[in-house]
Symmetry: C2
C-alpha cells in the first residue's frame, strides 16, 4: 500500500508542484494590510485543496485578524490515532525586492531549489502534507490516521489570535498528538528530530543618574556615571566563563545526561567562526558550544545604550544607561520565576548613586522538551532515515515556537516537530528557497510516518 | 590715583554699558558661516575701542579662520611688568531661540542682570578690561602695567588657528604673565581664584563579535555577546569605589597635601543632590566629592551603545558594542602616556571571543596648576577681596581650557585666571546673562590688581 502512495506522488509530481506554484504566487503577507485580500486568497487555496481531497468540515474560520483554515478527516476509525496538524499560510514581507534574483511571488526552480517567499516557511511544508493526504486518498480512499488540520494566517505576526481560539475551542482541536512542520534540519539531507525548544523571559532596565547629561569636568568625581554603573551591574549577571551569577538561576535545571550529551555530539556542528566571523566560540564552563546552545539556559544583552553616540568626543556624564536582556530557558525553569530572580539580582546589586528602573517584558514562553525515546519520536526518526537514507539526529534548539508551548499547555499532548527546511533556505530573507530533494524525501517521510503511527 | 580711576568708572557707567550693549548686539557666532561678517564686525568693535583708548599697533589680524584682534600699550616702562591679556569676542549660537525671554542679540537688563548671548562668555568680561584700560588712560594718561591684548574669534570652535599663531609669533605675544578672564566664581559675589585646571585624554573602542546581529536562541551559548564583554571590560577600568584600575594611572600624581585639602574645604560646596537630582554623591575612596572633582583624576564613560535600542524586545546577540571614554587629568599625568595605558589595559583585558578596535581621540590637554602662593595669585586674591568685601577662595576645576595649556607650554609664563562669571550665567544656554554686580566689582578688582602688580 505504501508503494502505491509513493507511486502516486511520483506520477503526479508535475501537477502537484504546479499547484504549489499557484499557492506561492499569492503574496499573503500578513503584516501588511494592503495584502489583506491576498492573505484571504491563500486561506481559500488551502480550503479548496482540502475540499478537493475529500476532507470534512472544511472552512475558513474567521478570527479578529486573518482567518485560519480548518478541516478534518476522521475516517480512520477509533483504533487509529487522531493528529492535529499545525502550519501557516502567511508569509514574511519580501522586501528588499532588489536583492531577489527572481521575483518573490513568481516561483522559479533553479539548481534543484524552488525560489519564492514562503517556499520553505511555511507554504512549502504545509503543501507537502496536503499532497501526501491527496496521495493516500486517491490511491487508498482513506488515510492511515485521523487528522485535524489547522493552518493559520498570523504566524508571522505573532499568532495574535491563535491562543484565544485554541483555548476556547478545545473540542475542535483536541487530538492524540500534534505534528508541526515549520522547522528545519541541521543540514541539507540530514534527517533531524527537533525534540526540545527553549523558553524565554526578558526585561529592560535603566540606571538613572543626574537629571541631565553633566559636564564631565565639573561633575566627574562627585556623580556616579550611570554607564559605568551599568557595566558593573551587567558584569555581575554573567561571569566571563558564561556562567549566570543570578542566585537560583540554575535551580531545577536537569543535569545533561550522558545519553543526551551523545545525541548532541552526534549532530553535525556549525562552524561558527566561518558562519559568523567570530574569532572563537565561547561557551558555559563545562559545556561545548552545541551543548550550551541546545540544552543549557542563556542570558544575553540584546541592546545597551547611554550617553553620546555621535562622531568624536562629547565630555559628558550621561544621565542614564539602559540595557535590554533576555534569557533562553530550559525545562525546569519557570519564566516568571526567572524574571523575578533577575529583578531581585538587579535590585540587590545596583551600585550606589544611581536609581534602578525595571520594565518587565510581558511576553514569555516555557521551554518545551519531549522524551527522545517516545515511540512517536522513534517512529518519526525511523521514517526520516528510511526516506533520506541516513541516520536521524536529535536536536534541541535555542529558539522558541509559541504555538508549541500553547498546544502543550492547553492540550497536554505530545508534539512532533517534523521539519524539512535546510540551513540554506534563507527564511525571512531575500531569495528564500526550498530544496526539492527535501520536498520529495520529506513527503516520503510523511507517508512512512502516517503508516507507522496508524496503530499506536 | 586708584580713586580717580574708580570715579571715572562710576561717572561713565552708562556710556560704557551702552558700548557693551553695542558689542553684545553683534551676533558674532563663529560656528555659523552666515555670521562671518558679524564675527568680523565684532573684531572691528574691539579694534576701534583699543584705538580710541590709545593703544598701539592695533590691528585685526587675519587667520585661516576668523581674525584675532591685537593691540599693545607698552608705555609703563621697563620696571613695570608686561601682561598678555587673552579673551574672545565670538559667541555660541543662540538657538533654541524660543527659550529666550528676550532676544539674544538685543541686550536687556532685568533684576540686576544683563541678558544677551555673550554677556558673560566672553564679551562682557573682555569689555570690562577695555573699560578699565580706558579709565586708567583717561584719568592717568597711562596704565600701571604694559599690556598686550589678544582677543580671538574662534574660541567657541576650538581655537582652531590660535595655537599656530601663538607658536609662530612668539615675539609678538611674549610677556611676563598672562591674564585670562573667561571663567567664573564658585558663587555669586564669592571672589574665586582658579589656580588649576584638569587635562584630558580620551578614546573610543569597539568590541566586535559576529559580523551581523545573530538570533539569540540559535547562537546564544556559542558566541560571546559583545555587550556583555563590554560590561566586563568597562567594569575592569574603574571599581565601584571610583578607583581607576588601569595600571600606572596614578603614577606621578602628587598627593593632596594638607594645605590644599584646607583650600578645597574652604570652597562653598555645590549641593549635588539638589542641582543634579542624584540620590547621593559617589567619590574616589579617601576623597570628598570636592577633592575628587577639583584635584583628583577621573575616568568617565561618555557614551555606550550596542544592539537594539527601539521599543520592546529584539532577541539578538549584537554584532558589536562601543564605548567612548575620557579621562580628566591632574599635574603629573601626561595625556599621551595615560592614553597609552588605557589602550594597554583594554588589550590585556579584552574578553575572549571578541575583537578590540580602538580609536584614539587626537585632542588632548595637559593639566595646569599654578602655585596658589605665587605673588601674582596672592595679589589677585587681595584685589578680589578688597572689591567684593569677602575672603577669596581657591579652586581647581575639572574642566580644561586649551589656551591655558598652550600659553604655558609655549611661553612658560604664569597664568592668572581672573573670572567674574557666576553659576547662574547659563553659558551656552538660552537666557545667558551676566550679573552687573560682578561687572562693577570685577572692574574694581582689575583696577586694584593692575596697581598691585605694577612693581612685581
Amino acid at each position: 500500500m505504501t508503494e502505491k502512495v509513493l507511486q502516486y506522488l511520483r506520477d503526479n509530481r508535475e501537477a502537484q508542484l504546479h499547484a504549489l506554484h499557484n499557492f506561492l504566487s499569492i503574496p499573503s503577507v500578513s503584516t501588511d494590510s494592503k495584502h489583506k485580500e491576498d492573505v484571504h486568497q491563500a486561506a481559500q487555496f488551502v480550503k479548496e485543496y482540502l475540499d478537493k481531497i475529500g476532507f470534512d468540515k472544511v472552512r475558513v474560520q474567521p478570527t479578529k485578524g486573518h482567518p485560519l483554515v480548518y478541516g478534518e478527516w476522521l475516517g480512520a476509525g477509533n483504533d487509529a490515532p487522531t493528529i492535529l496538524l499545525y502550519g501557516h499560510y502567511d508569509v514574511q514581507p519580501a522586501d528588499p525586492l532588489e536583492l531577489w534574483d527572481s521575483e518573490p511571488f513568481k516561483p522559479e526552480v533553479r539548481d534543484g531549489r524552488l525560489y519564492a517567499r514562503g517556499a520553505s516557511d511555511d507554504k512549502g511544508q504545509v503543501f507537502m502534507h496536503l499532497a501526501v493526504f491527496e496521495a493516500f486518498m486517491k490511491t487508498e480512499g482513506t488515510l492511515p490516521i485521523n487528522v485535524k488540520v489547522c493552518i493559520e494566517g498570523e504566524e508571522e505576526i505573532g499568532s495574535e489570535n491563535l491562543y484565544d481560539i485554541l483555548t476556547k475551542r478545545k473540542e475542535q482541536f483536541q487530538a492524540d498528538f500534534a505534528v508541526i512542520s515549520d522547522s528545519g534540519m541541521v543540514a541539507s539531507g540530514q534527517p533531524t528530530i527537533l525534540y526540545g525548544l527553549k523558553g524565554f523571559t526578558g526585561l529592560e532596565f535603566t540606571l538613572h543618574g543626574p537629571s541631565n547629561d553633566l559636564h564631565s569636568g565639573l561633575y566627574g568625581g562627585a556623580v556616579r556615571n550611570p554607564a559605568i554603573a551599568m557595566a558593573h551591574l551587567l558584569a555581575s549577571l554573567k561571569d566571563q566563563e558564561e556562567v549566570v551569577q543570578v542566585a537560583g538561576f540554575y535551580d531545577g535545571v536537569e543535569a545533561l545526561g550522558e545519553e543526551e550529551r551523545r545525541l548532541i555530539d552526534n549532530v553535525p556542528g556549525e562552524n561558527y567562526q566561518e558562519s559568523t566571523g567570530i574569532p572563537e566560540t565561547v561557551s558555559e564552563k563545562g559545556y561545548t558550544a552545541k551543548e550550551h546552545t541546545m540544552a543549557r539556559p542563556t542570558l544575553e544583552v540584546n541592546g545597551l545604550f547611554g550617553g553620546y553616540q555621535g562622531e568624536g568626543t562629547k565630555t559628558i556624564i550621561p544621565s542614564a544607561a539602559t540595557a535590554k536582556i533576555t534569557c533562553r530557558l530550559v525545562p525546569g525553569q519557570d519564566p516568571d520565576v526567572i524574571q523575578g530572580l533577575l529583578v531581585k539580582h538587579l535590585e540587590e546589586n545596583v551600585p550606589r548613586g544611581v536609581k534602578l528602573e525595571v520594565k518587565r517584558e510581558p511576553l514569555s514562553a516555557k521551554a518545551y522538551k519531549v522524551d527522545p525515546n517516545h515511540p512517536l519520536i522513534e517512529k518519526a526518526a525511523e521514517s526520516y532515515t528510511k526516506a533520506f537514507g541516513k541516520e536521524t539526529v536529535y536536536v534541541r534548539m535555542g529558539g522558541s515556537i509559541p504555538v508549541v508551548e500553547w498546544i502543550e499547555s492547553i492540550y497536554h499532548m505530545p508534539i512532533v516537530l517534523l521539519g524539512f527546511g535546510t540551513p540554506e533556505d534563507r527564511l525571512h530573507s531575500p531569495n528564500e528557497s526550498f530544496a526539492l530533494d527535501s520536498y520529495d524525501k520529506g513527503m516520503e517521510t510523511l507517508v512512512y510516518y502516517w503508516n507507522a503511527v496508524r496503530n499506536d
